[in-house]
């Protein structure tokens, strides 16, 4: 159970300012990200000011081909890098002169920051815990309040901010999560989700079976291989209402891959119905076609259900151009709009944590240091979205 301190007073910007600045720390999986965000108060001329990204840097823990990232090793990576990344973020962030009221742009100072935002979950326990230590330490040293952020909410709010999508159905697809989300009555409600493993996890694990590199990311490499796939191999397709399941597909396609690599095997599984030899590229192609079709289908169901024609794709798998293309085909058919971001925001990052944390902070929500324990399980619909109406 996540506890917040909720004040009935909304915090004001620092004296003489019309903006807030937050630093965000993200480390729920193998990416360590730090971002610094500036949000302006609305004015007459700009009633909905855009947030300004002052800095958004990341360091990814890459494992050798065939290996996944283990919690302990990932946590060690984050511990080794988090201080360096925070330092760099401060050095790289520039506060524009028109904000500071000074003559020239200048590097940001610790005192410019209003709050320290960190990912409180969901994610891998050990990596989360190593990052929150740094968040607590700087919160105490800099005397700035902590704001715990739900990782999924970070993705959603950043996607909304960057794309300007007002009230979209959100498809959140990453290594740890697969959810179709729609906003209603101050919650991001989960309309459909995976009943077992996440899409990204399914792709990552298949990349390991194929022993393809984890750099820059296993999903990216699968996407490149899939472009050279020629034969569509039928795989299980498991959509249950608005939910989906992927473990069966992974087991099936893993088995096919093992047959292909086994030179002694003469299984007919190695050939298409027209007698052609199935290649790893074919499998990547078929796997993408199948699981992305499932994702687009449940997204379309959610759209029909809540009667909206906007779709926002967030999360690491959201970078996949084939997924975006399929989603676009569906959305255009419904005369709707699709919104997606590039990899600087799709892939886990610190700026989204700063963005969502700042939205909370401005509503008077902060996290007491004693309640700042991270949690592996933290559902998107547990968060009260105080900053949106009805």
């Amino acid at each position: 159970m996540i506890c917040y301190d909720i004040s009935d007073k909304f915090p004001a910007p620092q004296e003489g300012r019309n903006y807030f600045v937050a630093i965000g720390l993200e480390g729920s999986a193998n990416k360590l990200g730090v971002g610094i965000m500036l949000q302006q108060l609305p004015t007459k001329h700009t009633p909905v000011p855009r947030a300004q990204v002052l800095c958004n840097i990341r360091d990814t823990y890459i494992t050798p081909p065939g290996e996944g990232f283990l919690p302990r090793d990932t946590a060690r990576h984050h511990r080794n890098w988090v201080v360096r990344l925070i330092k760099r973020s401060l050095e790289e962030s520039v506060l524009p002169a028109k904000m500071s009221g000074e003559v020239e742009n200048r590097p940001i100072r610790v005192n410019d920051i209003d709050c320290i935002c960190f990912t409180q979950g969901p994610g891998m326990g050990a990596p989360l815990q190593s990052v929150v230590l740094a968040a607590r330490a700087i919160s105490l040293m800099w005397k700035k309040p902590l704001v715990g952020v739900n990782h999924c909410i970070g993705h959603i709010e950043m996607g909304r901010e960057i794309t300007g999508a007002l009230n979209p159905v959100v498809l959140y697809v990453s290594g740890g999560n697969t959810q179709v989300i729609a906003y209603s009555h101050q919650r991001y409600r989960i309309f459909g989700e995976t009943l077992d493993i996440a899409v990204g996890n399914c792709l990552d694990r298949f990349a390991r079976t194929l022993k393809i590199p984890n750099y820059p990311s296993p999903g990216y490499n699968i996407e490149q291989l899939a472009k050279n796939g020629k034969n569509f191999v039928e795989l299980p397709y498991t959509v249950k209402g608005m939910d989906l399941s992927m473990s069966g597909i992974l087991a099936y396609v893993d088995n096919l891959a093992n047959e292909i690599f086994n030179e002694k095997s003469n299984s007919k599984l190695k050939y298409t119905t027209t007698g052609q030899k199935i290649t790893p590229e074919d499998l990547c192609y078929s796997l993408q076609e199948t699981i992305f079709a499932m994702l687009v289908e449940i997204t379309e169901r959610a759209m029909a259900h809540v009667n909206t024609n906007q779709v926002l794709i967030v999360g690491g798998v959201g970078c996949n151009e084939r997924l975006q293309e399929m989603m676009k085909t569906m959305v255009v058919d419904r005369q709707g709009e699709i919104f997606a971001t590039d990899e600087s925001f799709c892939i886990d990052n610190g700026i989204m944590i700063a963005q969502a944390g700042l939205l909370s902070y401005r509503e008077g929500i902060t996290t007491n240091i004693k309640s700042s324990v991270c949690t592996q399980r933290f559902r998107t619909d547990e968060v009260f979205i105080k900053w949106r109406t009805n």
Binding site: R79, V110, R136, A137, L140, W142
Partner: protein, 91 residues
């Protein structure tokens, strides 16, 4: 409550009592994952306010070693924060 016969006490000196206090507050919130196998108490030394004291009670030497290792990792990170991210370094 199982008996926890394996014990260890760490005393970590910090530059100032303020730093020791930051370390205490940073490290305290996270509970040990298996409290029946490893108990842990973090305090400020009564004799010296700049010394952090961490005491462990464990069910076995193996559990004790894992717990202490993890605490040392975390202490290392806190110390790095104190050294590198002090407000004085930036302003």
């Amino acid at each position: 409550m199982a008996s926890l016969p394996y014990t260890l006490k760490l005393v970590i000196p910090f530059e100032t009592s303020h730093h020791a206090d930051i370390a205490l507050q940073t490290l305290s919130p996270d509970p040990e994952l298996k409290p029946d196998q490893l108990a842990r108490a973090i305090t400020i030394s009564e004799s010296s306010p700049s010394e952090l004291v961490v005491e462990f009670l464990a069910v076995s030497d193996r559990v004790l070693r894992v717990g202490v290792n993890s605490m040392m990792d975390n202490l290392g990170l806190v110390a790095e924060c104190l050294d590198e991210l002090d407000i004085a370094n930036f302003n």
